[in-house]
Subunit: 260 residues, 6 copies
Amino acid sequence: MRENNVKKIVAAGGNVVNGWLGVPSGVTAEAMAHAGWDSLCIDMQHGLVDYQASVSMLQAISTTNVTPLVRVPWNEPGIIMKSLDAGAYGIICPMINSKEECEAFVGATRYAPQGYRSWGPVRGMIYGGPDYAKEANTTLLSIAMIETAEAVANVDAIMSVKGLDGVYVGPSDMGISMGFGPGFDPTEPKLIENFKKIAEAAKRHKIFAGIHCGSAAYAIKMIELGYQFVTILGETRLMAWAAKNAVTAVKAGKPNPNAP
Amino acid sequence: MRENNVKKIVAAGGNVVNGWLGVPSGVTAEAMAHAGWDSLCIDMQHGLVDYQASVSMLQAISTTNVTPLVRVPWNEPGIIMKSLDAGAYGIICPMINSKEECEAFVGATRYAPQGYRSWGPVRGMIYGGPDYAKEANTTLLSIAMIETAEAVANVDAIMSVKGLDGVYVGPSDMGISMGFGPGFDPTEPKLIENFKKIAEAAKRHKIFAGIHCGSAAYAIKMIELGYQFVTILGETRLMAWAAKNAVTAVKAGKPNPNAP
Amino acid sequence: MRENNVKKIVAAGGNVVNGWLGVPSGVTAEAMAHAGWDSLCIDMQHGLVDYQASVSMLQAISTTNVTPLVRVPWNEPGIIMKSLDAGAYGIICPMINSKEECEAFVGATRYAPQGYRSWGPVRGMIYGGPDYAKEANTTLLSIAMIETAEAVANVDAIMSVKGLDGVYVGPSDMGISMGFGPGFDPTEPKLIENFKKIAEAAKRHKIFAGIHCGSAAYAIKMIELGYQFVTILGETRLMAWAAKNAVTAVKAGKPNPNAP
Amino acid sequence: MRENNVKKIVAAGGNVVNGWLGVPSGVTAEAMAHAGWDSLCIDMQHGLVDYQASVSMLQAISTTNVTPLVRVPWNEPGIIMKSLDAGAYGIICPMINSKEECEAFVGATRYAPQGYRSWGPVRGMIYGGPDYAKEANTTLLSIAMIETAEAVANVDAIMSVKGLDGVYVGPSDMGISMGFGPGFDPTEPKLIENFKKIAEAAKRHKIFAGIHCGSAAYAIKMIELGYQFVTILGETRLMAWAAKNAVTAVKAGKPNPNAP
Amino acid sequence: MRENNVKKIVAAGGNVVNGWLGVPSGVTAEAMAHAGWDSLCIDMQHGLVDYQASVSMLQAISTTNVTPLVRVPWNEPGIIMKSLDAGAYGIICPMINSKEECEAFVGATRYAPQGYRSWGPVRGMIYGGPDYAKEANTTLLSIAMIETAEAVANVDAIMSVKGLDGVYVGPSDMGISMGFGPGFDPTEPKLIENFKKIAEAAKRHKIFAGIHCGSAAYAIKMIELGYQFVTILGETRLMAWAAKNAVTAVKAGKPNPNAP
Amino acid sequence: MRENNVKKIVAAGGNVVNGWLGVPSGVTAEAMAHAGWDSLCIDMQHGLVDYQASVSMLQAISTTNVTPLVRVPWNEPGIIMKSLDAGAYGIICPMINSKEECEAFVGATRYAPQGYRSWGPVRGMIYGGPDYAKEANTTLLSIAMIETAEAVANVDAIMSVKGLDGVYVGPSDMGISMGFGPGFDPTEPKLIENFKKIAEAAKRHKIFAGIHCGSAAYAIKMIELGYQFVTILGETRLMAWAAKNAVTAVKAGKPNPNAP
């Protein structure tokens, strides 16, 4: 079965630089797949992407060696299994707040006896290879989002679920749940405290920790905190950032380094 | 009829900062429409965009006051008229090399007796307003691309076509036609010479000159040369530029100003 | 944050005339958005519309000031949150039969501590404005459908759920649940009795009541009954009604007022 | 080969009541196919419809016995042949102003030796039947639009083209070409004069005449003038007409016959 | 209401040869609808098909008399009801392992008092006919998948659910749940034993049994075992099988009977 | 620049086994790309495929090493250039009957000074590589269809056009033009005679000859006649062939080798 870059990099102690896709188009997905990311996550939760578009995007990513992941809208077996069948090499599941929720999630990503995933990896096998049945349970990633105070309280129970490969922190939801409001790259000490706890717990449970960042600077800081999987914004924000800077530069009559 | 920003800015002696769309999606189009551009051109020639996607993109742009333009694939009446009917407020037509080609192009954009456009602005009237029939011929822009040595030789004949509002320079095709190859932001003196000639001729014919640029710096330089309509890259390249810089920064462990 | 027309009209004691969209197309959505409705509801339950089409439709509606609502297929957090993130300014949720169901629904539409909505209003913030985080909980509408005898029995418990803004009656399902079968604009006294009870309960709970109608005449009657939010058919039935009348008129050789 | 309703009705001296489709959706197409029209024309010229959407629409129409026609964007062999291959049972071609243009058009719709259509009716044969090769040239309709003063001047030359089955009048373009401006259902005597001339010429050449109408009343009048093929508006305008009437009625608190 | 072929054939003691659709396209669906199948099932579980594509596919199938079925991704009321509203004449629901799951499933497919399906068969009524309200509960099929050892253990409880019309066996999931791994057309005695048990139980409960097969030979064998509803592969595998055989034949320079 | 398999195989004296795509879907395209073909041609002429779908299909093919070709609807620069920009590695152009037509075609596929292709290979460069500007003119294939008696008469003039890489025979159109009607795999001696002439002329002009076949057997025969590029049917016919055979086998109760 085709190797999973994320698994391999993490196992080697490296850091995964992950890109984020919220535009329902194979065109942006393919362009991002050529931008140097180790993996790309199609965001079906907050991105403007539904399943059918995700199939085209998975194909577009498959023109390269970048590992495709999918964040599903919710902890629901139908879309988790459909995404894996379409060729996702890992699932990020939002709002896992308890062990039971984590078990339901991980079970949906594994064939029996490890879970209850239903067989039929129509595109997954084209992408992964003919030994998919044998290797899928150990190749595909199950990543739970830890994004509330409740989840932090239950972090050991959640991480003890067999088959869980990693956790992913959503700073905005964590901020909201703790009363600080949403926002990229928070510096609020209580949030940072939680981020540390999560990274340490992950290490303890021998799984990896990931986090959504709003800048390269913050991603670098999070890597220092023990996060081995960092995302920087999404393709729309990267585009808008460069676009706004370019317009501003021309209107001001002064080029500047944060615009092409 | 809804005003045409490009026409208004140019008439006031200002400069239009134009964005460029090559992704077949209303999602990227709407995000770009919020990035500060005065106008946005949907590129149906080299962009990966066909007519049906352009309709969604025109709708997405219409959620703002940004003026929507369309570059058609070729000088062909069917697609020119369809694009105007869908609500484009101007057409950029590639490869206009002679007066005859320019007349055919401009004629397709105007109702009789100025041209031979067929009536039926199904979405154009929704966007433009109920007085479309009366105002369309003087509100919508007809912009011819000057992008070969032959076109430069015929520049006065081309620009003398009644109803032409502006010209748009394609530096890469101009470079190829002169034996220098394609490329953004050329500095080759013979090309710059041609760019000057075109801007001067435009001024002489009381139409505006536009040009496709690869950077804010070059756009500023072109404005100094007399160009009143400048484009900086397209949304995919802006996205890819920021993405590559972000990945590089994180992999190097060093933030830098050309990444968020 | 951009104002919510429905909320404003209802608060001022007025009546909302709401349009209904079941065609998966931004083209019909934009045409309907120019037909005079105060709000438009995209019907993802019985309409032939899925999430991806709804995004284009929301963009099309956003070219005007008409307030966009979405009826979700079922009381499921994934699609409720996706629809809000895409820019819906209110959710109509089918088949709310108990307080628990209503709490689950309303919770999915509110950020903590009022609910458990996850942060990431990618298009919602483009549409609503930069103060979305602060204002969303009080701007977006949560509307529960009351459409069974069971729901009528539980109407006070349902309406007591904090954060619920309104209820919406589905006469056909109500008719089926009471043994009368489906149908527009019922006159069966027991149904009318229930409609009255619901309107009165809504007034008691200081929320608004809405209802799906099959004709202008019935909508007017329902307004008299206390309903402040009335829908007349959907765009497909309006089209089919006018089309059939036009064909009939021409085939009969006699124009008549119910055809153009 | 499946019979062509339009051909059959016209041959029997009857009148065809034709519907018009400008929404790129199989959903509206199917609803219109159940509204009583004898035939439905997909408008790829001024409608917001491109080829790919037309395929879904042709399938939707094929769920009924309504005869599917396509108006192409322009007199161009590529799209004429693609539309026939997709199962259109007739082509309406805009802006035929001369015999030569008419010959080019009709030739594109016929296999050699009558024309130069290329073989490959991939869906046409599924829809039409296995004897397509033998019957297509005499079953499919070639309909030229007569919509300028120039075309009226050349009407006998145009109608003399062998294989032409009918003509279709575009009143708005005719109005523009004669200096009266666009508009449905004109009463200007010079236009009516031309409409008469065209109907008479059609009778003389043993082909049928059709016309685009804005109301049932006008269609009835045109039938009296000798037109055997009449269209009343398009699906979007029918929908918008009924929608606006419904909103107005409810807002006025008074039902009226031109709203459901 | 339009008759249900599957119901009719099964009632007459015949066998249904069912085709399987996993490509999200009306084009393949229409071609398959002309290939001789009695019914066609759109696979929204493992096929690469989402709801919006399924609507086009249902329309394409409706150009013929082939009965359309849908396999939903999971036992979830939203998608079950949406599929029926779109015109499916039966639902196959995966992974029914208990009586409770079966009741939830069947309830979602029936109007009260038999179940809790919500009214609004927008396309279902176009396809089925005006007496849909009266006939739907007895015309549409509810088919539960029996595909785990657990389900076999509970087979009588599951089949005792009122309103269940048939069961459908997934050999691969059954194989996995019993420790034999996935695979078409298994010969493992313990699996065959289970297949027999299921067919016998179905007979006992007066419902029909169906099974997914990988070849005509196996389908014939299953019919002998008492299965009245057999599927042979899906359209993609049929295509790939013929394609690979054709390539191999040409590369070998030797035609052979398993390639055209 | 990425190598062109077709060019390489032909240059080495081998034979290209080409697959044919008429379904507008990346799903079928990807499945066909895994079936062993050397190249795949997206048929935008008679296939039910438009430009936007072709982009997804080109991406799907690009997940493998199969070389992507496009047959354009007609000899028109807009779509020829758009297809190359989208990543096609060769264009098959229908109905080339004269030297002038061939020159217009080949010119549209080459950058100056060899032709008049416009620069902007947005996806072509992603697929081909950064040296696209330098290598495109010699890497991409220009293939003219020879499919009428007139074209056979002009075969030497057509083949003498500089830059033409190959010709492709359409047996059905050739049959029609010679009075024999359409049909796969003709045995009519006058047609075979023409096929021979074309293959010999191609050899004389040092370009390759290709032909569309209905069976492996015929393809093998054509290779013997000197054709180095053979297509066997299209994906829809391969699917339908296997599907019909499977249904027939099950209904007859007898498996047979031409069904799986």
